[in-house]
C-alpha cells in the first residue's frame, strides 16, 4: 500500500539525535508502521511548540508528511508523557533499557502490533508499579516471543523429553533448556533452578495480571535476570548498553527506599 503524502500515527519516541542547528531526528515506534525515523524541526529551540510533545519515551500522536529523504513531523500532540518515569532513577533506567531493546530487536517499517502494545503497557507499568524487575522480566520474555526468539521452556531442546523438576540448564545456543543428560553436548550452559524455570514458564504464558501476583525473592529475580541477559546478548550479538546503567544505579547509587519488592520466596 502506497503511504499517502501526509499520514497520522501514534508512536513512542525510542531514540533521538541532533540534526543541524535546531532539529532532531527521532526514532519512533508505531502500531502499524513499526519502527521509523522522522525529523522534528526546530525542537531544540526554547520556544518550540513541538518539543514537549516529542520527548524521549513519550507516547504521542503525530501528523507526518513525506519528505525527500526523511519524513517530517508537521504536528504533534502528546498522549502520555509518562511523567512518573522521571521521578526515580530506578524507573527511568529501566524505561531507557526497554526502549533500547525495542530498538535493537526491530527492523525499520515492519509492523508488530503486539510489540507496540507491550511497549506501551510496560512504560505504564514502570510508571505506576513498584515491582520494576518483574515488569522488566515479563517484558523481556514477551518481546522475545513477539520477535520470534521465544526460548523453549517446556521440553529439552535436544532430546525433546519433558523437563523434570530438577536442576536443568539454560542454553542460548540451543534456544532453551537442556536436561542434565543432554547438557554435556554444550560447553557451558548455565544451571537453572527448578523455581526459576517454573517462574519463567509462568511469566511466558500468563497475562501480566496473573504474573504480577507472583512474589519473588531477590535471588530468584536475579537468577532469571541473569539467564535472560545472557540469552538476549546471544540473540542480539551485541551488548545492550543501557543495562550497565541499571546495574550502576543499583550498586553504586541505591535509593534511600528500595522500590523493588523483595518479599516471600515463591513456593
Amino acid at each position: 500500500m502506497k503511504t499517502p503524502h501526509i499520514y497520522r500515527t501514534e508512536a513512542v519516541v525510542l531514540r533521538q539525535r541532533k540534526l543541524g542547528e535546531a532539529d532532531k531526528i527521532l526514532t519512533l515506534y508505531s502500531p502499524n508502521l513499526g519502527k521509523f525515523d522522522a525529523v522534528a524541526k526546530g525542537v531544540r529551540r526554547l520556544k518550540s511548540r513541538k518539543a514537549g510533545h516529542v520527548e524521549l519515551l513519550s507516547h504521542t500522536a503525530l501528523l507526518i508528511s513525506h519528505g525527500r529523504s526523511l519524513d517530517i513531523i508537521t504536528q504533534s500532540e502528546g498522549i502520555q508523557p509518562f511523567p512518573a518515569l522521571r521521578e526515580s532513577l530506578e524507573r527511568i533506567s529501566r524505561a531507557i533499557y526497554i526502549a533500547e531493546l525495542v530498538d535493537r530487536f526491530t527492523e525499520e517499517r515492519i509492523e508488530n502490533y503486539p510489540l507496540y502494545g507491550l511497549l506501551l503497557e510496560t512504560l505504564c507499568r514502570l510508571s505506576e508499579r513498584d515491582d520494576l524487575d518483574l515488569v522488566s522480566r515479563y517484558f523481556e520474555l514477551h518481546l522475545l516471543a513477539f520477535t520470534g526468539y521465544q526460548p523453549q521452556l517446556s521440553v529439552c531442546t535436544a532430546c525433546r523429553a519433558p523437563l523434570a523438576p530438577v536442576l536443568n540448564y539454560f542454553s542460548p545456543a540451543a534456544g532453551g533448556i537442556l536436561c542434565s543428560a543432554c547438557r554435556l553436548s554444550e560447553t557451558s550452559p548455565r544451571a537453572l533452578t527448578v523455581n526459576a524455570l517454573k517462574v519463567m514458564r509462568r511469566l511466558q504464558s500468563s497475562s501480566f495480571t496473573d504474573a504480577s501476583r507472583l512474589r519473588l525473592s531477590t535471588s530468584l529475580l536475579s537468577e532469571i535476570e541473569e539467564h535472560l541477559r545472557i540469552y538476549i546478548r546471544f540473540v542480539l550479538e551485541r551488548e545492550v548498553r543501557s543495562l550497565d546503567y541499571i546495574q550502576s544505579v543499583r550498586h553504586s547509587l541505591p535509593a534511600a527506599e528500595s522500590v523493588v519488592l523483595a518479599a516471600r520466596v515463591v513456593s
Binding site: G20, E21, L46, H53, E55, Y245, S248, V249, L253
Partner: protein
C-alpha cells in the same frame, strides 16, 4: 561533493567550509569565494583566530568551562558566591545564564548529558571533577541546570543521588511556560509544572 571545476586550493577550502555546521555546499562556495576577494591580511587574521582558539583555549581546571586563563575569569572572581555551584550541560549555557545577571555563584560544565543507550555515562562527562570540587570546598547548594529533557532529567537525578550524601542541598531549575508561549500548544508536563510552580499574581 568535491568541486572538480575549481582549482585545487579553492576546492579544498570549499570542502573545509562544508564541514562546518549549518554550512551546505552553496554556502561553502560563497564563503570560499569571499575569502578569495578580501585583502590578504584579513584572510590571515581569520586563519590566525582559528589557530589561536584551538591553541589557547583550555578547560578551566575548576569548572571545566572554556577559557584562555586557568582558573577562568568566573572562578577567579572574588565577589562571586563560592558556596553555590550551578551545573550545566555546555559552555554556551553559562553564556545564557550570565546574560540574566541573576546568578552570582560558580558553574560546573558537564560537556554533555548522560545517555545510557548511546553508552554515554558519568565517566564520559565531567562528573568526577564535580565530585572532587564538592569534597574539596565548602559548597552549600548545587543547582542542577541540565536541560528539561529526559536525558537532562536523568542526568540530574543521577547527580542528585551522587551528591546528596555529601550533605549538600541539591536543587533543580523551575519548569513552566516560556515567555511568549501559547497555552494552547503547551504540552501536558509543562502545564502541570507551571501549575505546581504558581505564585501570587
Amino acid at each position: 561533493m568535491p568541486n572538480t571545476t575549481a582549482a585545487a586550493p579553492v576546492a579544498h577550502l570549499i570542502d573545509e567550509f562544508n564541514k562546518l555546521p549549518g554550512i551546505g555546499p552553496k554556502s561553502a562556495q560563497r564563503l570560499a569565494y569571499f575569502i578569495l576577494r578580501v585583502p590578504d591580511d584579513e584572510a590571515e587574521a581569520l586563519a590566525q583566530a582559528i589557530l589561536d582558539v584551538k591553541r589557547l583555549i583550555v578547560l578551566c581546571s575548576t569548572c571545566q568551562n572554556l577559557t584562555d586563563i586557568d582558573p577562568c575569569s568566573i572562578c577567579r572572581n572574588e565577589s562571586r558566591d563560592r558556596t553555590t555551584i550551578c551545573v550545566v550541560e555546555e559552555p554556551l549555557n553559562i553564556l545564557a545564564i550570565e546574560r540574566t545577571r541573576s546568578f552570582k555563584g560558580l558553574y560546573h560544565v558537564l560537556h554533555g548529558v548522560m545517555s545510557p543507550m548511546d553508552g554515554i555515562g558519568p565517566d564520559d562527562l565531567k562528573v568526577r571533577q564535580l565530585e572532587t570540587r564538592l569534597n574539596a570546598h565548602a559548597v552549600i547548594e548545587v543547582i542542577l541546570a541540565t536541560n528539561p529533557t529526559l536525558e537532562g532529567d536523568n542526568t540530574a537525578m543521577y547527580l542528585e543521588r551522587l551528591i546528596a550524601p555529601l550533605g549538600v542541598r541539591v536543587t533543580r531549575l523551575a519548569r513552566g511556560l516560556p515567555i511568549g508561549a501559547d497555552l494552547e500548544f503547551a504540552d501536558e508536563m509543562t502545564l502541570t509544572r507551571a501549575f505546581e510552580g504558581r505564585r501570587e499574581a
